[in-house]
């Protein structure tokens, strides 16, 4: 029988080991540019493919169970030490999109399977209609690149070069992808080796018992938090501007949350049917949104692992936006995730009003392909991820100018942008009144204005222009996002939240991210807070008067 001390020691060791695997992955030649987005994860799983500790890239955490289950189904009888399996398949293995390639390798103690080591990482290009494989206008998953069902890529420690060659033949960046596969296999195998050492030192039984105890501990921790909720049901819905293909159709996401008998059921059956454009989600991503929201709502310190699944149920209707059927495209899943989190949190607020929060402003991408206009010796591809703001919540104003929820990337410094690319940033400023008014105000968003110093193609991918972040409990919506090209000229125009534009040297454009929604009736806002908002320039005196009833 295992004791509490050994469980804690092994729990810390698995956490330290995954940290080390992440770094080993860095060190092993992973492409310099992509790794800066940290779009990868390394994990340890039990013999059923259950996650033991959550990776920093949280939304990968729910994928491995699906991936491993399929690997066990296909290869459970023939699996042996030294095997490594690969897949990027959103439908067969639950990967977020085809650019994310997952690897799992079984861990054996002698003859006995005791767990898996796994990793998922973004690849520079895996084919499809667009360079980089993520196309905002894909209408089938086949447009998004080569699909790999779970297959063996290393057998008993020996490379299966047929598979490597097949993958590389489908990539526009075969050298980068080859290096990345090598790095990922090495990090995954390092996890195997270290776990084998732990099994030798502590005994395979002890390691398996510790895994079981760590999983049960998480179940118990989440169950205790759920037990404190009132029983009942709540529903919520929200909209995305469009799927990027059918620009005029808004996309509705809906959830019905039921708390009963110590369990939580998330039912998405009432969401829109799947979209033509690539904003569809697979259940693995929906689960990530649910667990993220549930933990955020119940207690941010709760530890996530697959033990948490034991008290949570999911229900989907087939062919919907939250449970798409092949071959629906999925490459813009993150934008859909961020909307879905808003919706789930809104429903959860019914059960835990003290953690209620209004909608956040999501996350947007801005790319500029400078082509031949790039500075000599420097890259021609400028790419930024720009955040927004959180909604106000119970007793809490939303944070301004920040990455929100599942996204957490750095902003690119202006001084770096201008030093590397023929661009000038002419403003980066707070937008007064952009935070939804409320007793607790939504966070403010920013305006970032650019001047093209050379011709280039600008690609914007974002949401929240038609459907701004909503307030709750009487709070007002946050300011909608905007993207304006040819600013300051007769040709100035407001564009949809996503699009591609050929601009010329001297053209100016600007973007405004969306502000957070407000919480509660603004008239009830503490006067001191209103005064401070005016003093800080967060709220204009006019708005203070109109929305907050300030004198």
């Amino acid at each position: 029988m295992i004791d509490a001390v050994t469980i804690e020691v092994l729990r810390n060791k698995v956490a330290g080991l995954t940290d080390e695997m992440h770094y080993h992955f860095y060190r092993s030649g992973y492409s310099t540019i992509i790794r800066e987005s940290r779009d990868f994860s390394c994990v340890i799983l039990d013999r059923d493919g259950r996650l033991i500790t959550a990776p920093p890239m949280f939304f990968h955490g729910t994928v491995y169970r699906h991936f491993c289950a399929r690997v066990l189904e296909l290869y459970g009888d023939t699996m042996r030490p030294g095997d490594v399996f690969v897949s990027n398949h959103p439908y067969e293995a639950g990967l977020p999109h085809v650019s994310d390639m997952g690897f799992v390798a079984p861990i054996f103690a002698g003859e006995r399977l005791i767990g898996f080591s796994g990793s998922i990482a973004h690849k520079a290009d895996i084919g499809g209609t667009m360079p980089g494989s993520t196309s905002a206008t894909a209408t089938e998953i086949f447009h998004e690149g080569l699909l790999l069902p779970p297959v063996r890529i290393r057998a008993g420690g020996a490379p299966c070069l047929d598979i490597d060659r097949l993958i590389l033949a489908n990539s526009r960046q075969p050298e980068l992808v080859a290096g990345d596969i090598g790095a990922q296999v090495a990090a995954t195998c390092m996890g195997v080796a270290r776990m084998e050492q732990l099994a030798e030192r502590f005994g395979a039984d002890i390691v398996c018992e510790a895994f079981a105890a760590i999983l049960t501990g998480a179940t118990d921790e989440l169950a205790a938090a759920i037990a404190a909720l009132p029983e009942g049901a709540a529903r919520a819905e929200g909209f995305m501007d469009s799927d990027g293909v059918e620009i005029d159709r808004m996309i509705r996401m809906a959830v019905n949350v039921t708390v009963k008998g110590g369990r939580v059921l998330f039912d998405f059956s009432d969401s829109d049917e799947q979209a033509r454009g690539p904003i569809n989600l697979r259940p693995s991503m929906v689960e990530a949104c649910c667990f993220y929201s549930l933990i955020g709502c119940l207690g941010p310190d709760i530890h996530f692992n697959d033990g948490c699944r034991d008290v949570v149920d999911f229900r989907y209707a087939p062919g919907t936006i939250t449970n798409a059927t092949a071959p629906a495209p999925v490459s813009s899943y993150q934008m859909a995730n961020l909307k879905l989190v808003d919706v789930i949190l809104q429903a959860l607020s019914h059960f835990r009003p003290e953690r209620a929060v209004a909608n956040a402003g999501s996350s947007g991408a801005l790319g500029i392909n400078w082509g031949k206009g790039a500075r000599p010796g420097q890259s021609s591809l400028q790419y930024e991820i720009l955040g927004s703001a959180y909604g106000g919540g119970h007793g809490h104003d939303g944070a301004s100018c920040t990455a929100t929820h599942l996204s957490n990337l750095h902003v690119t410094p202006i001084e770096i942008l201008e030093s590397e690319f023929p661009v000038r940033v002419s403003a980066f400023e707070l937008i007064p009144d952009s935070g939804g008014a409320g007793e607790f105000r939504g966070g403010l968003s920013f305006r970032r204005a650019y001047e093209m110093l050379s011709d280039g193609m600008v690609i914007r991918r974002y949401d929240r222009a038609k459907c701004p972040p909503q307030g709750i409990k009487g709070g007002k919506p946050g300011r909608a996002s905007r993207f304006v090209i040819k600013a300051g000229t007769v040709e100035e125009r407001e564009t949809p939240a996503s699009g591609r534009f050929d601009l010329r040297a001297g053209d100016r454009f600007f973007l405004e991210s969306a502000g957070g929604g407000g919480y509660g009736d603004p008239v009830g806002r503490d006067r001191k807070r209103v005064e401070r908002d005016i003093a800080e320039g967060y709220v204009t005196p006019e708005t203070a008067k109109r929305d907050y009833g300030a004198a």
């Binding site: 001390v5 810390n12 990337l409």
Partner: protein
């Protein structure tokens, strides 16, 4: 450097910690050191410093005989943690007031907590003035400085009652003219105000880290200036005459008080606390340091871990203190919540966790008997017999074993169905393995293999836990310095004057004109010489070390590459720099991209003025054979495994002479520390009084 006080000879190092102020007085002639420990006085730490100094004076040391005073203080760190800095105003480029709100955009802290707050602004928007002006990435002025707007801002800031002003314009590292002119105007209109320019504090590319570092500097400059002034007057009043007064910095070097009083280098003191100990290790144990050292400073609330590779402490150039980004060079350390005061509890899910909560010094561990009833690591240590309840801090504080047992029983042993000693052993094991795991991951991330290193524990609890940590890591050597409790203070007598300078200019290396690079370095060198002269070190021989920050084109971070030995920059020198970068990249990140274009991002200069240091004193070999049994103090029952107590000999450290040899299991006690020597380890007192523990490999 001995221009003042002809007969003066003593060198004094004073390190202020959270609970105690440690003083080490060195007589360089004999190499002898004297140590004092007094209570810290957090409200005004200089009082504790002077109290400690009086103890030496009471013993007959003449104040005029003190030739050198070096001081490590956390005054700025604490002021930042407790938000007790100056009232700060900010001037920025017009149209860019989202920079300070967005910061890095990414959130720190718990990623699940959507009730996220950034730390309170040092200069809120209401004290921020947007000045029309703009410089481009080459340093060309696009919009001239609006001096009228600066004047208006100066008037408004004076009216708003600010004490300090930060000025941070875009691209000021390429052309500081607008910031310099802004300071002139403020000095003219409001001479009372301290002004920190981003082009002085951190002329480095990336607007938010530069702005943040400048804000922190402005926020703390008045605090440090006042403190150093108070302390200086206090020293004068006690009759200390020397002008050789220095302050510890984060980079492991010291700065003269004169530099501290200008307020320009205040941010360089923020991480100075743990730096002194690492510096002491690198110097005192330099014979071992060449082969690699891991230092483990285990105190009341946390354990600080640092690596010394090839004799030199590892450094970083980016850091965060109290959630504020401060991008100045600092020794590379990691801190984990594993101190004597770390609290053990049964967490949700039934897990036995230790830390991050700490009982600190007040109320302290349960065994302190000061109303603390939560079980801590120190309680576990005492219940297992490792600490002597009657000899804690040399017997000045008695520990209550029954209170420790009761706390362990109520909170851990009872709920988990363990015996009290099993619970205590479990807590020790969790903490020891966590420290080892931290060392392992820290080392892996820097491409180091800790097995070959020597572990150097210090702080009150370091040597109690060192052997267990070493066992877990496969480290075979542990070096316990003579005074583990005063090791940081000793570090103050081991440090050179070090000033760091930087200047960014992002250029593809292939397009860099060597003469241009040479000119940039020359400019930094003139600045260094001018500052040293202003600090009264103009005549001293300064070593000027050049470095470049390089990266592969498009990477988000740089690596420092030394230009040592390259001399005047030419094409061959740049080629050599590139090769060094590839090699360094391969060491740290495991691979190099030799075919990829490289960019130079910044130019660095380190000015180093040597300060005479403590020389480890060789002990005389004892005349007769060494007999450890002669200093046997007693015997005590110790529980290593929680089940079976074993009777072990206890030795007094001060009685052990050079060459003394002890076989584990044994304990060595001294006023400020206890060393645990488990079975399978042997200890020997080396020529310098260090206790060197070696694992008996045959038994592994």
């Amino acid at each position: 450097m001995s221009q003042d006080g002809r007969g003066a000879r003593y060198r004094l190092g004073v390190d202020v910690g959270g609970t105690h102020t440690d003083l080490v007085l060195l007589d360089p002639a004999s190499g002898e050191t004297q140590v004092e420990k007094v209570a810290s006085t957090p409200a005004n730490p200089s009082l504790g410093v002077l109290n400690g100094l009086r103890r030496f004076l009471d013993k007959g040391i003449a104040p005029a005989d003190i030739a050198f005073f070096a001081h490590g203080t956390t005054i700025t760190t604490n002021a930042l943690l407790e938000m007790r800095g100056a009232r700060v105003g900010l001037l920025i480029t017009g149209g860019f007031n989202a920079v300070q709100e967005t910061q890095n955009q990414a959130r720190d802290g718990n990623p699940f907590d959507y009730f996220y707050d950034r730390p309170a602004a040092i200069a809120p928007q209401s004290r921020t003035f947007q000045i029309p002006e703009r410089t481009d990435y080459l340093g060309n002025v696009l919009t001239p400085l609006d001096e009228g707007a600066v004047r208006d801002a100066a008037r408004a800031l004076e009216a708003a009652g600010v004490d300090a002003v930060a000025v941070a314009y875009l691209f000021s590292y390429m052309n500081p003219a607008h910031e310099i002119r802004t300071r002139e105007i403020i000095n003219e209109m409001a001479p009372r105000l301290h002004v920190s320019l981003s082009s002085d504090v951190l002329p480095r590319i990336r607007e938010w880290p530069r702005l943040s570092t400048t804000l922190v500097n402005a926020y703390l400059a008045p605090v440090l200036t006042r403190y150093v002034g108070d302390l200086s007057r206090g020293l004068d009043a006690l009759g200390v005459r020397t002008a050789q007064r220095f302050l510890m910095q984060s980079n492991g070097g010291v700065m003269p008080f004169a530099a501290a009083e200008t307020g320009e280098k205040t941010v360089h003191t923020l991480l100075s606390g743990p730096a002194a100990g690492a510096q002491a290790a690198a110097w005192v144990a330099r014979a071992n340091a060449r082969a690699g050292l891991v230092t483990l400073d285990m105190g009341g609330t946390s354990a600080d871990i640092a690596f010394i590779e090839a004799g030199v402490p590892l450094e970083v150039t980016e850091g965060t203190v109290a959630r504020r980004q401060v991008d100045v060079p600092a020794l590379d350390m990691t801190t984990i919540s594993a101190g004597g005061g770390s609290i053990a509890r049964v967490a949700p899910g039934g897990f036995l966790t230790v830390g991050p909560e700490s009982a600190g010094a007040v109320p302290g561990p349960a065994c302190y008997g000061r109303s603390g009833d939560q079980p801590t690591v120190t309680d576990a240590d005492i219940v297992c017999g490792f600490l002597n309840p009657d000899y804690f801090l040399g017997g000045s504080q008695r520990l209550d074993v029954a209170a420790a047992e009761a706390a362990l029983n109520t909170h851990i042993a009872g709920p988990l169905g363990l015996s009290v000693r099993e619970a205590a052993t479990g807590i020790r094991r969790i903490v020891d393995e966590r420290m080892a795991d931290e060392v392992r991951v820290f080392a892996a991330k820097r491409g180091l293999e800790p097995r070959a290193f020597t572990l150097l524990p210090f702080g009150g609890a370091g040597a109690v836990h060192a052997a267990a940590v070493a066992d877990e890591l496969g480290i075979a050597r542990i070096l316990v310095p003579p005074r583990p409790g005063a090791f940081s203070a000793l570090g103050l007598l081991c440090s050179d004057v070090v000033h760091d300078y930087i200047r960014s200019e992002l250029t593809p290396l292939a397009r860099l004109v060597p003469d241009h690079a040479e000119a940039l370095f020359t400019e930094l060198e003139s600045r260094a010489r001018a500052e040293l002269a202003a600090e009264g070190l103009g005549d001293a021989e300064a070593r000027l070390e050049r470095e470049m920050d390089l990266r592969y084109a498009g990477q988000g971070y740089e690596l420092r590459v030394s230009l040592d030995g390259i001399g005047r920059i030419d094409a061959a020198g740049l080629k050599a720099a590139r090769e060094r970068f590839d090699a360094r990249h391969a060491q740290i990140h495991g691979h190099a991209a030799r075919e990829k274009p490289v960019e130079v991002v910044s130019y660095r200069l380190r000015a180093r003025v040597a300060v005479p240091k403590v020389q480890p004193r060789e002990l005389p070999a004892p005349a007769t054979g060494v007999d450890a049994a002669a200093v046997l103090k007693g015997r005590r029952t110790v529980w290593f495994d929680g089940r079976e107590g074993i009777d072990v000999p206890v030795f007094e450290r001060d009685g052990l002479t050079r060459g003394a040899h002890l076989a584990g299991p044994a304990l060595v006690e001294q006023m400020d520390a206890t060393t645990v020597i488990p079975a399978g380890w042997t200890a020997e007192v080396d020529a310098f009084g260090n206790l060197l523990l070696t694992r008996d490999e045959a038994k592994r």
